[in-house]
């Protein structure tokens, strides 16, 4: 056993060293601060000529990993034992604040005290949250589709590029219904038909099923991708807002994306959460949002 553990330690040390080594060519844009990356990437993408696919589109295919975190808090938050910490992912408005309505800001604070991120129970993260969870992402690209697989709760997004209309509004999906198109070197994806269940972050921010999410994927250099998502949900936010973050290509040899088979809804250990009063966020529908807003504003009138 000692020999086995020694080997394991050596392997672990080698893994650590490998992780610290520059696995990919450095990027002109620093990617650990969202706003700085966003500004740099906006300039770099104007002059960068990406590698093209056989049908002449920018080739986004490959393995990617998102850089600075946003799933804990879309806004700036410090590194703590509970958080990895990050600068604000919000690039519009320029102050880096999510433009919450008063009622929704109050509600999201209640959410965070009562409800865990749905991913704790193996549920999907939704759009755009699925794009800034943990793990690797694999982009597969054909002339007709872009497919994005990710490891956190093993979701996939199949994005048609043929201009077909969205599904009926009666259909509501965890990952919504996405439609893609090329705008020059940028893949633009519009997602509707969301089910109003996922969190946007662990601070309790959310969207209703009325939300529209517009994402833009643009290569900044051979191994760096700029990602931004504009969230438009007038019931919850005072205006549309945009987050941006960096993806870096994984160029380590023999790396592969793995299915994260989530175990039976994590049911056996959900009791630990329930024992201390936490549940899984049940979501807030548009109808519930209207009622919550009305009640909140009525309380304000009474005050």
């Amino acid at each position: 056993m000692t020999a086995r553990l020694s080997l394991l330690l050596v392997a672990a040390a080698a893994t650590t060293m490998a992780a610290q080594a520059p696995a990919a060519p450095s990027s002109a844009c620093p990617d650990d601060a969202h706003a700085k990356f966003h500004a740099c990437a906006q300039a770099a993408m104007k002059t960068f000529t990406p590698q093209k696919t056989a049908d002449g589109k920018p080739d986004l295919s490959g393995l990617w990993r998102r850089r600075a975190a946003a799933h804990e808090d879309l806004e700036e938050h410090p590194k703590t034992p509970d958080d990895a910490g990050a600068t604000s992912a919000v690039v519009d408005p320029a102050d880096g604040k999510v433009p919450m309505q008063p009622w929704s800001d109050a509600q999201r604070r209640v959410n965070a005290q009562k409800f865990l991120h749905h991913n704790a129970a193996c549920l999907l993260s939704g759009v755009p949250t699925t794009m800034y969870m943990t793990g690797l992402y694999q982009f597969i690209q054909t002339p007709e589709y872009v497919v994005i697989q990710s490891e956190e709760a093993h979701p996939w997004r199949i994005i048609p590029l043929d201009g077909r209309p969205h599904l009926s509004s009666r259909v509501r999906l965890w990952q919504g219904d996405s439609r893609g198109r090329w705008d020059g070197n940028t893949l633009v994806v519009e997602t509707t038909n969301l089910n109003a269940r996922p969190y946007l972050d662990q601070r309790g921010r959310f969207t209703t099923e009325d939300a529209t999410v517009t994402e833009r994927f643009t290569l900044v250099d051979a191994n760096t991708m700029h990602y931004q998502a504009t969230i438009d949900d007038p019931l919850v936010y005072t205006r549309p807002f945009t987050i941006a973050l960096a993806f870096r290509r994984n160029t380590q040899p023999n790396t592969e994306i793995w299915e994260e088979a989530c175990f039976e809804s994590n049911a056996e250990h959900m009791e630990h959460f329930r024992n201390v009063g936490f549940g899984i966020f049940p979501g807030i529908s548009a109808a519930q949002a209207r009622e919550m807003k009305r009640a909140f504003e009525a309380q304000g009138t009474q005050r």
Binding site: L8, T15, N119, V276
Partner: protein, 129 residues
């Protein structure tokens, strides 16, 4: 010897590695203090979103208390070099981590040490995947 040793060092000093977890660690665990236990492995469950190690902790009277220890996802452990037969049943490990807020004998592991003091790995539920 009592194997449960509450540690009350400053959290920031003890825990230089923050989590990048898919949900709040503080919701389930008391992250204001770490605890250390030593016990013998009885089972390892390789699961996502978290792997679980089960150990028996024996006190000075020979009383055995079972503990459950949470780790990162099985995928993450595998990427770090873990394999299923690396921690056989009966092996002794010392684990430092946060205890569950519900009072159960449950820890989330930040560090695992072998009997000779070497650290096998660190990190509780980070997104090092």
């Amino acid at each position: 010897m009592t194997r449960l040793l509450p540690v009350v060092f400053a959290v920031a000093f003890l825990m230089p590695v923050s989590t990048d977890a898919h949900h709040s660690l503080a919701a389930q665990f008391d992250i204001t203090a770490t605890h250390t236990v030593t016990g013998a492995i009885t089972r390892m469950d390789w699961r996502n979103p978290h792997a679980w190690l089960f150990i028996d902790v024996k006190d000075e009277k020979g009383q055995v208390t079972p503990y459950e220890v949470e780790f990162a996802a099985a995928n993450s452990l595998y990427r770090r070099g873990w394999r299923q037969d690396d921690l056989p049943v009966g092996a002794s490990v010392t684990i430092t981590g946060y205890r569950a807020r519900d009072g159960s004998r449950t820890l989330t592991a930040n560090e695992v040490k072998l009997p000779d003091g070497r650290t096998l790995f660190g990190g509780a539920a980070p997104g090092a995947r």
